[in-house]
């Protein structure tokens, strides 16, 4: 028979009470924070994933802000192009009117003033600003893109923004492609292409096609439209459409009462109009893409929150049933302790 001594029974009682109390303490901390994971060792893997999910959430908040910037820029650009198209349509109507011999030279001279106004308005649109940045000057957003003669002073930069992880969209069109010619429009390369740091294992850097492949994983309408414009086979010098020079030519043709030159211009102005409309369509689809991405991010955020909560948050029902269970265990330990410790042979002798 196992011998039971005073210390062995008190020690085992202490051990079991201690154990129950320790569990109680853990549950209590979980109950007050309502978190399953208080420190990394509680569940190293969930901690890892949870923190990653937390980062993704924060990133998404930032992407939503970027989407805000992209939308305001794209919308302003689009409405500006709309106004520009209207101006050109007006100029075209006038040119059509004046290309017949119906009107006389004097009238043409007067009408030319109207075109001068249109040209000035077009110039004003070309120098349109959003906040303090010019929308048509490429990267040189703080420099006026067009001078009085209609010469382009900006550069050919396509500003890109990351609106979802690894998804970059251009948020501007530069003055050259809007007002001059569409021949050198290229879809901007992946913005990280310039940095060798991102291809540590491969030098020289990954060619942009590979990066494009990566982008194509998110099938979005803008991609196709954008790649349509990536057509460099045409010689840039053949169609040199310059809206300002077209208008200037129209003005001088009207002033000089030259109907042939006016007629010649009609086709060119038409080309400009259709180009701008195409560009608007492109911008419109970009806006759609951005809005779509916004929705995606919102959904992703909800899913992500859910995932994070599953990883890190304590299940309240389970927690409290655990607490109740543990309370019972502790109580039982006290009860049995009372029975064990207070009784001794001495109580029955006398």
């Amino acid at each position: 028979m196992t011998r039971v001594s005073e210390n062995s029974s008190s020690a085992s009682l202490q051990f079991s009470i201690n154990k129950a109390k320790k569990k109680m303490e853990d549950l209590q901390v979980k109950g007050t924070t309502l978190k399953k994971i208080i420190k990394p060792s509680d569940d190293p893997m969930a901690n890892f994933q949870g923190l990653q999910a937390q980062s993704v959430n924060k990133d998404n908040t930032q992407y939503l802000r970027n989407i805000g910037y992209a939308l305001s820029q794209l919308n302003t650009t689009e409405s500006t192009l709309e106004q520009l198209a209207e101006l050109l349509v007006k100029a075209k109507e006038i040119a059509i009117q004046q290309s017949s011999d119906f009107y006389g030279g004097n009238i043409r001279k007067n009408v030319s003033h109207e075109i001068i106004q249109i040209r000035n308005q077009a110039l004003a649109l070309a120098n349109k600003r959003l906040g303090n940045r010019y929308i048509f000057s490429g990267y040189k957003t703080l420099d006026t893109p067009f001078d009085k003669e209609g010469n382009y002073k900006g550069d050919f930069g396509h500003i890109q923004l990351e609106i979802a992880k690894d998804f970059f969209i251009p948020i501007n069109v530069h003055g050259q492609e809007v007002f001059f010619t569409d021949n050198n429009i290229k879809y901007p390369p992946h913005p990280l292409k310039e940095f060798n740091e991102f291809h540590p294992s491969e030098n020289p850097p990954i060619p942009s096609e590979n990066k494009d492949e990566l982008k194509n994983q998110t099938p979005l309408p803008a991609r196709e439209l954008a790649s349509v414009t990536d057509d460099t086979s045409r010689d840039p010098f053949i169609t040199k459409n310059n809206i300002f020079s077209q208008l200037t030519t129209l003005i001088s043709a009207l002033e000089n009462n030259n109907t042939i030159a006016t007629q010649d211009l009609l086709e060119k102005i038409d080309e400009s109009i259709s180009r701008i409309i195409t560009m608007r369509t492109r911008l419109g689809s970009l806006v759609n893409t951005v809005l779509h991405t916004q929705l995606q991010i919102d959904t992703e955020n909800v899913e992500n929150q859910d995932f994070q909560s599953k990883l890190m948050d304590a299940d309240v029902a389970e927690l409290f049933s655990d607490i109740t269970k543990q309370q019972h265990i502790l109580q039982t330990a006290y009860q049995t302790g009372k029975g064990l410790m207070n009784k001794s042979l001495l109580n029955f002798l006398s």
Partner: protein
């Protein structure tokens, strides 16, 4: 008839002695490390008288303690491993709390904030105020790197202090054991009872087992000896060897850090024996200090180095946002009268090694003027945001360890590894504590005092005492009867 009185007398004596032992047991019921004692009783030598063998009563041969050497050794071993884990769990929990960011902002959140501020900057590259925000976020990241490093260093230093107290404890225990060795031999030579002293020595040995693993033996000259495993004999009979813990120079320190505390034999300074100890608190502390802290510190420093290096390599490609003059062929001048226009580092060039974080700071240019934060890849292009974009992408690009892990993954891996270590040691500790409690229980079952048992014994001895007295009384009455015949 006189032998009858004598027999009664021996009965009285043995009962009284047994009662004394019982009393001693009862009064020591709560004495730590006490082993219950028992008076061993035997019959007194019998005599032959006129052809009859006659008993002459009883006597106490010895008072022995109830003790199991094997359980004692096992207990020491369990204590040793439990203490190792307890110390380890405690220290790892301390280190772990540095990286706790479930409900507070830790390095991961701050790094994320830093990169997101670059994303924000890419949305409004002309905004000079945003650059201040970027700079402030960078400062916070640096400060958090430094918080981690400082806390690690402080934990390391506190472990050094722990060494000192543990070794002082060990010395006083060694001293105590040597002293008790001498006492036990002296008392036993006089034929005295050494049970209590042996209990005392066992207790000291148990305490010493908590600090490092030891084994005890009796050598061929019957001397009791204590040796630390892996190190050597510390006590033989009354002779002892003292240990000291003190700062060591870089070339002999076991973790290669100058001024780190190491353990030496008192009479042989300059030869650290720190790494030779096995098990117990000392080994646990050494492991945490030389492996865990060292490992994490190295990883965090490397992370800081890579982080600063990559940000710099991208940032230095950019141009500042102010108007930059160009040479006749149209190339931007790398310098103007204000200073550099390109090639500016964001952080000061980091130093590789364990001092990376200590020296981590923003570059002077960025510190002087946040407009020196470069956003664009082309000069004189205020809307060019490519540098900001690229820097913001660093967080999630696989740039570390030869392009296999991202900064975030690397950091979280380090934290997870620490978490796993801590979780493992917590789990092991719980188990070890269970085993220890069990072993302790076994020891207490064998050697512990049971009041019920003692009470029963008390009654037994009391009855025996009363009966022996009765025997004497009867003997006396018999004398009376005999004497009354004469009257």
């Amino acid at each position: 008839m006189s032998d009858l009185l004598g027999i009664g007398k021996t009965g009285l004596f043995t009962s009284k002695k047994s009662m004394e032992t019982t009393g001693h047991n009862i009064s020591n019921v709560n004495t730590e490390g006490y082993s219950r004692q028992r008076a061993n009783q035997t019959t007194e030598r019998s005599i032959v008288q006129s052809g009859l063998v006659k008993g002459t009563g009883s006597r106490i041969v010895s008072v022995g303690r109830i003790h199991d050497d094997f359980i004692e050794k096992r207990l020491n071993k369990e204590l040793n491993s439990t203490e190792f884990l307890k110390e380890r769990s405690g220290k790892l929990e301390q280190i772990e709390s540095i990286f706790n960011e479930v409900d507070t902002e830790g390095l991961n959140t701050l790094l994320n904030k830093f990169f997101n501020s670059f994303k924000e900057l890419s949305g409004q590259p002309e905004n000079e105020t945003m650059k201040m925000v970027v700079r402030d976020n960078a400062k916070i990241v640096i400060r958090d790197f430094q918080r981690i490093q400082t806390t690690l260093t402080n934990t390391r230093k506190s472990i050094d202090q722990n060494f000192k107290t543990k070794i002082a404890d060990a010395n006083s225990l060694i001293n105590n054991i040597a002293h008790l060795n001498k006492e036990i031999v002296r008392i036993e030579q006089l034929g005295g009872e050494s049970g209590d002293l042996r209990d005392g020595r066992d207790k000291s040995i148990r305490e010493l087992s908590k600090i490092f693993e030891i084994h005890t033996y009796v050598d061929n000259r019957n001397n009791f000896a204590v040796a630390a495993k892996g190190v050597g004999t510390l006590v033989v009979a009354g002779e002892k060897t003292d240990l000291v813990a003190g700062p060591a120079t870089k070339d002999i320190a076991t973790n290669g850090i100058d001024g780190s505390f190491e353990i030496f034999y008192k009479d042989r300074p300059g030869f650290p024996i720190t790494n030779r100890f096995q098990g117990g608190q000392i080994t646990s502390l050494i492991k945490v200090r030389n492996e865990d802290i060292q490992n994490i510190s190295e990883k965090i420093n490397n992370l800081a180095y890579d982080f600063a290096k990559i940000v710099n390599s991208i940032h230095s490609k950019g141009y500042v946002s102010r108007k930059i003059e160009t040479d006749p062929s149209g190339n931007a001048l790398p310098y103007d009268k204000i200073g550099k226009t390109t090639g500016i580092n964001f952080f000061q060039e980091p130093i590789r090694g364990q001092d990376t974080i200590e020296h981590l700071s923003l570059s002077e240019e960025v510190l002087d003027d946040p407009t020196n934060i470069c956003v664009g890849l082309t000069p004189n292009a205020s809307g060019d945001n490519r540098v900001a974009l690229a820097i913001s992408k660093i967080q999630h690009e696989k740039l570390l360890n030869g392009g296999t892990t991202t900064i975030e993954e690397e950091y979280l891996h380090t934290v997870s590894q620490l978490g796993l270590e801590a979780a493992k040691s917590n789990f092991d500790l719980e188990q070890a504590e269970g085993i220890l409690a069990q072993t302790n229980n076994i020891r207490e079952r064998i050697s512990g005092v049971s009041l019920d048992e003692e009470t029963a014994n008390m009654m037994r001895y009391q009855h025996a005492y009363a009966a022996s007295a009765k025997v004497m009384k009867v003997a006396e009455e018999m004398f009376e009867t005999i004497l009354s015949i004469k009257r």
